[in-house]
Symmetry: D2
Subunit: 337 residues, 4 copies
């Protein structure tokens, strides 16, 4: 950690700050420049509270050199984490396609979609039971009933299921769910992350709309610090000034996350763009950039979808999108499914 003091800080105060930091259990190395003094902190700085140092009135700025996450950090865990889900693997060369409707609507819908996406090559079924909606007047999901329907589809098809949790209180309903999804809006719902850290369920953690790559890794760290190592990171687009797409898929986040962390990285091209015909090119780009999986919205009747229909493929569309996906996953030397 590097601490830059304000210009022209008095000698006495420089000493005072030096001693104060020294008491935090690190060695303080001093560099006196022409106008400015800089401290280099040596030792285990992970316990040093950067903001506390920043609060000192003589401190101009603080720069961390070590990453603030450990469990999620590839430096301390060089090999890829492979998350196992009901016999399936993701990460470490294993690629998974997760597909299904935005919202679970009825038994017929979800089992029909499940059958179709399985036939096309998807390994897992996704479907929303609890739905975060901007408007209190919009359809909020079938909730507990939705989870029941997903479990029925799981029994029928044998596919592991992925569904979103919106509150720690609902955790008992997720007993038989295979992968619990944390949505973008809850990426920094730290109380929820702590609860999920105490389970051993695989967690699909979506990046928040305005969250940095480092913040995503810190949220993974919350779950892992609680004892749950089964975290799957998900890039799903960030909010920018561009309006041609709903969000801007941050394609660079994929190789960066893979380099900084050992966790698997999946991409959600449906939510990133919000446009059906972009699912194919963005899926291909994600694979080429190194993703370990995709999560794609498929609805058997998008026209009647109760939420997010605009970005859902039909099962026929999905069949045709899966062809280049399979080809490219193979070309990248990964195993699909």
């Amino acid at each position: 950690m590097i601490v830059v003091l304000k210009q022209n800080t008095q000698k006495e105060q420089v000493e005072e700050v030096k001693n104060w930091i020294g008491e935090m259990g690190v060695q303080v190395h001093m560099i006196e420049g022409l106008h400015t003094t800089v401290f280099g902190l040596i030792g285990d700085t992970s316990k040093v509270d950067m903001e506390q140092i920043q609060s000192n009135p003589n401190v101009e700025s603080v720069k961390r050199i070590q990453e603030p996450y450990k469990n999620a950090n590839r430096k301390f865990h060089p090999n890829d984490t492979v998350v196992e889900i009901g016999g399936l693997k993701i990460g470490g060369g294993h690629f998974q396609v997760i597909a299904g409707p935005c919202s679970v609507e009825c038994e017929e819908q979800i089992t029909e979609v499940a059958r179709r996406v399985k036939a096309a090559g998807a390994g897992m079924l996704r479907g929303g039971a609890f739905k975060p909606r901007t408007s209190p007047y919009a359809f909020q999901g079938l909730r507990a009933e939705g989870i029941e329907l997903l479990l029925k589809a799981k029994r029928v098809t044998g596919m592991p299921i992925v569904t979103e949790i919106m509150s720690a209180e609902h955790l008992p309903l997720f007993e038989e769910v295979d992968v619990i999804q944390v949505g973008a809006r809850n990426m920094q719902n730290f109380e929820l992350l702590k609860m999920l850290g105490k389970t051993n369920k695989p967690i699909l953690l979506k990046r928040g709309l305005a969250n940095t790559i480092e913040e995503l890794l810190m949220s993974a760290e919350y779950i892992m610090a609680g004892g749950n190592p089964n975290v799957i990171l998900c890039e799903r687009g960030i909010r920018t000034f561009e309006t041609a797409t709903r969000n801007t898929l941050d394609i660079s986040a994929i190789p960066i996350l893979k380099r900084l962390s050992h966790l698997p990285v999946v991409v959600d091209p449906s939510h990133a763009a919000g446009i059906t015909w972009l699912v194919e090119p963005l899926s291909k780009a994600a694979i080429a950039a190194g993703a370990d999986g995709l999560i794609i919205e498929v609805h058997n009747n998008p026209k009647k979808a109760l939420s997010d229909g605009a970005q859902s493929l039909t099962p026929d569309d999905f069949d045709s999108v899966m062809k280049p996906i399979c080809r490219l996953v193979d070309a990248e030397g990964k195993i699909l499914g």
Copy 2:
């Protein structure tokens, strides 16, 4: 609501879409352009699901004309809402300064700060008991004990208290809290908002880092739709590319929120900038732009603060910042405290 069809949609399909929308309980008015057909939807479009229409493969785009919020909308409630908090008022010409430390740390700290900020003119005391921290290794707040300490400071000074909730499960601990704060990261924690809608506590709702003004109003709508009209909106900076400040205070949000909604609007200059010396100019700008209150961090020993010290004023700094604040509130014809 305006629905634009894709160019060169076949006549038959135009009819089909028209009938489909017609069944949603609105009148459909058709305009045939040279290349494009446009529908104007007349009637109560608040129940029409925009995304469902958008999902139709023949639809190019949908544009809402009515605002999607009702309870929070000034059109249906022209007069300013005045929220009453333990004898104090905010909104409708009443201005409040809420001050206190980022985190509650001990009894001495919180009562001392409370005394000082009250003496300087603050009406309410703020202090964090539950602290949302990016890192799981950072101080997470005194939690239940922190609320106890705030209540002690309330008894000693008579000041109403404002503190943040991070999970619906903690609600019972907030029984005696005067104003419950929803932090920026939880602005779209819809399950929490619904729970708060069932209480009658005043809610201080902070704008999310990447949330639009409309989304803030939709989150207020969640609380109000549940039956709780006591919502105070808070602008606290948005995330942009600029790095000179921690966030970018969206000063325009103040007059826009005041025009679109009847709810009181407060500004948090401490979190918006993350820099102590900016608190004064930003507070003044907020008042000049029409804010109904300010929420300012004050710590009796920022050097030792366990979180966010960099942006905290000392009680002496706060005394001097309150002078121009009082002057400007008065010049704007508002009543302080």
Copy 3:
């Protein structure tokens, strides 16, 4: 074009606005809603000034339905444009890799890099003679001399050259340059665009840091409206809140530009990320998303580069990056070089 009037506009004023717009040479179709009146404008709205209508005090909002660009629009030019450069083709299935140093520094450097990148499969040579630098104290490029050196490298290797123009005044120096690059900072230097529209040189037009996809196409339109159809669009990253990369490569822009326009689209992974090791995954992603070419920085001695060394590959790095590029271009059914 759709014009939404303000709520409760008086009948008389509605008529007045209707007649006023009618005089602009379009048919005005009126829809009367419960609270709002909407006009649909039918006919050639490309000559209607949206902002002028927006300025009317009774107008709430204006929405364009037709795209505001014609020459660049795929609707009026369904086939891919193929730009020819000294015997090479780009677009319509032809893929080009443009490579070379950020700045031209000396004859030895530029010819050596040219030889190496040509051997590795690059079709064109890039190099900066005029360099836009944030600081007036940084190296500003060799200017006229830099162009001379590029021309020497062209003579030696036979590669067409691409170099940036920073001012219309320098145009005479670009007589023998094959492709003139307009940098991101000059994307809306409209006077420069107009001048380039009068030449018949291929123009490589880079997207501005904060410019939308539509604005990029409007800048292309400036050049094309002047009579020069040879525009190559370049996505090179936009400015967002994320700091892990210098800019955020907007991968979705590639398929969107290809759908909206017939112009070739190239991607600059070097400037988008600002990080050497990201050039490979981003290049692959760009090809998978449908790009027609890449522009990559290669320097024979990045350690000594006078500008932007951090993002430059060595010739050896470039050799190894070209392998997956060739493979993927081929898999996409395109012809390299």
Copy 4:
């Protein structure tokens, strides 16, 4: 300047980098951490090319401690710069309101607006002769004729005039113009900035849509490094995800620019918001935050304005906006006009 090496860099390479940097004319101070080595560079680092160091394959990151600008830096010029314009002053306690239409349209319009804004208290007249328009098909300004009309209005009213330059070639036409404006889109048109640095005209330099505060100061530095100290900085809104306003006025930029630099800072509330009724609250906020002036669009007939009418006030509106402006400038202890 702080240079952080990559983790586990070999001792030999550490030495090599140290010597390499040492040759740049600075002292290199080394701190060896557990995993990382850090160098502190002591001496005049303004000539050290940060990007060149960053390009070294053993370097992880470089952090500048000194600001990269000198002429614009308050550290080397503690007193406020007062720019004098035809007898008027701006900066150092002198506040100016610059008002006028977006575009000059005809003699009657510009002289009428000039008379009205002068009567209301504006000190200078603005008007666009050269107009940067997104579309090549939109009105591009009266150009040379527009400047003629502005000069007529100047003769009639005695007001100094402010108008935008779009290309260095047009400089001879600006002989009698009092203040040359550089628009947001040209803030990094470095060739233009260099030319303006050779004049002694006051330059109103607008912040680019996606430019940081530091980049704005670096562009001012370009002008000042050329020998022209008469730079007025202008905050006019930045591009963010929020769509309720055209741009987001960065109110914090005002106090930050005033602290970092001695140059006067004006605010353009018309372009920042793009909404007439926001001009008053944003003008007030700007004054409260410490601005030295305002630039406001006023048109005698916004309905017929050929550009940007939506954000223009009528002269009557301007009269009423000037009242709180005068009051607030006075309350801030500044001299208007």
